[in-house]
Symmetry: C2
Subunit: 351 residues, 2 copies
Amino acid sequence: MAATEGGPRLIDVARAAGVSIATASRALAGTPGVRPAVAEAVRRQADELGYVANVHARTLAGGHSRTVGLVVHEIGDPYFSEIASGLLRLADTEGLSLQICHTGRDPGAELRQIRTLVAHRVAAIVVAGSGFVDAAVEEPARRELERYAANGGRVAVIGRHHLGADAVLPPNEEGGRAVAEHLLALGHRQIAVITGSPVLTTVADRLAGVHAALADAGLDPAAAPVVEGPFTRDGGRECARRVLAEHPGTTAILALNDDMAIGCLSVLREAGVAVPDRMAVTGFDDVAVAVDLNPSLTTFRLPMAQMGEAALTLALKEPTSRPRRHHVVGELVVRGSTAVTAPAAAGAATP
Amino acid sequence: MAATEGGPRLIDVARAAGVSIATASRALAGTPGVRPAVAEAVRRQADELGYVANVHARTLAGGHSRTVGLVVHEIGDPYFSEIASGLLRLADTEGLSLQICHTGRDPGAELRQIRTLVAHRVAAIVVAGSGFVDAAVEEPARRELERYAANGGRVAVIGRHHLGADAVLPPNEEGGRAVAEHLLALGHRQIAVITGSPVLTTVADRLAGVHAALADAGLDPAAAPVVEGPFTRDGGRECARRVLAEHPGTTAILALNDDMAIGCLSVLREAGVAVPDRMAVTGFDDVAVAVDLNPSLTTFRLPMAQMGEAALTLALKEPTSRPRRHHVVGELVVRGSTAVTAPAAAGAATP
DNA sequence: GTGAAAGCGCTAACAA
DNA sequence: TTGTTAGCGCTTTCAC
């Protein structure tokens, strides 16, 4: 600990090893062209002094960063924490550090966070939060990212954005379709959809899939109630109550994510509505706990950890002239919250 | 976009505004001593050029970092993602960026991650993963952090560590005691504990609380089966199976975290063991989904988000000569997985 | 109030 | 193989 505040510097190590700062740098970086014995001596001295290279100096001098940024809506949300987990695992094996930002689904915050990551000159930025249907909302962020990319930064997004970047695309529409078809196959005709704000592409795409399935079955999509609230567990509770009150003939509630489905199940339990006998419920995402609910949740599985990994993989590749699209495969997972038989007679739940 | 690869620099802004680089720096940093009109002009130019200050250059020159590091076992785990969420929220309002590392409960990885954060010269490091009972295991990390602190870094930990740092201390022992007393009060006498590895202080402390309660009730703590497995949902499944097979008289399973309790519930459901009638189950932590399980989970609530916030708060304060200890208050939350009445006759589950 | 210039700690030419 | 040196982009004295 010979050092002044800030710790030992490369020059301290070099002096201790009796070499120049350049040689010390090479030895520590593993650059070839240093006699093994010298390199070894340098490393030993570094170790002894507890030397840890200053990343800022290194990045500034070298021009390359070993940090990547991840933008999520909310890291406490399992959907995003599972994405983060997969991404972090890959980052770790690649020797990259991860900086996480959250936006709370606010486009303004998203822009601020992106600027922060740009300021850090991260090697890549992964935007994991849902895109917005209205391209204008994302325009400032798009410009910022475009500039960042023009300056050598790499960008990848998860979901459908208007960001002009490489994208990992979850099968939202297919999933919405699959879930709806599953309910239709069980005989449900009075299906209520509970959902987050349709300004999000995630919501819009899942809903489009649901409507397509209804139309294919000869039903009028416009006739199916769509009840909207926050895209969270509490939003699910709120919407479920409204479905119960305003659409009494409903035999199935199709939630556009697991969080809402979970909130919905809790309301139904409190209201004494048997699931799946009097009401079928489905979710979307297959977060880890979906299987542990009782009844366990029928849902459309998205491989979140893989999606995080895939996004970072895209971001780490050389850019192409036009954005890449990596399509992810999902899977309907049928569990206890939807009966394997036809629903109880519609209208049974009518007051 | 007049800039070379890397984006516009301060000097580009300064030139565009017709001032020196020093004035531009002051204007952008909000340092007093710049004529308002000039400052305004600089800011406008910066905006126009899309200038974003290089954090590395800034940190290197200024000596202060606006990034903090968080070390967790696994960010996909709700316990940690909720801690991260609380911490991130505070970091955000303080204008700090967050870098996250995970260790997978491996002390070696923990050391590596700490070194990475030191290399980044983060302003503070928060270690959120459980400590290890064996001080020797943490010794290398302790030395690294000590050196970091000596060089002006700030450290805070969550849980009992041998790291010599400010600590946020969850009431693990009290919680273990509370859960056990609750089961005892319900009349349970055949209580099996399922747990993660006792090398973790979190596990050791919770277990100590349980044993203390048993002893106070006049029972022999050594007589209560303690079944150990991974501190995860799957570990809970494994341990629950073993309890069923090896300790047939058991009327209550006390899991030392919610993850294990959740796995346990799923095994009991598959085995057709009614909860809470034939078997009571308790968890620890009160992760978000605990309330949504069916039966909902009786558990000891830890305010994870607050703990994350408190840890960062400690880390942001001026250091004191001896480590601070911030004690957190928890709360027993009684739910459906423990009956409100005495248990079914012991032995009912005997083959 | 403003500018010139000296670093911050490191990497990467370029020399030797 | 090793050393010298010029920056990387910014903050911050110190003069003016």
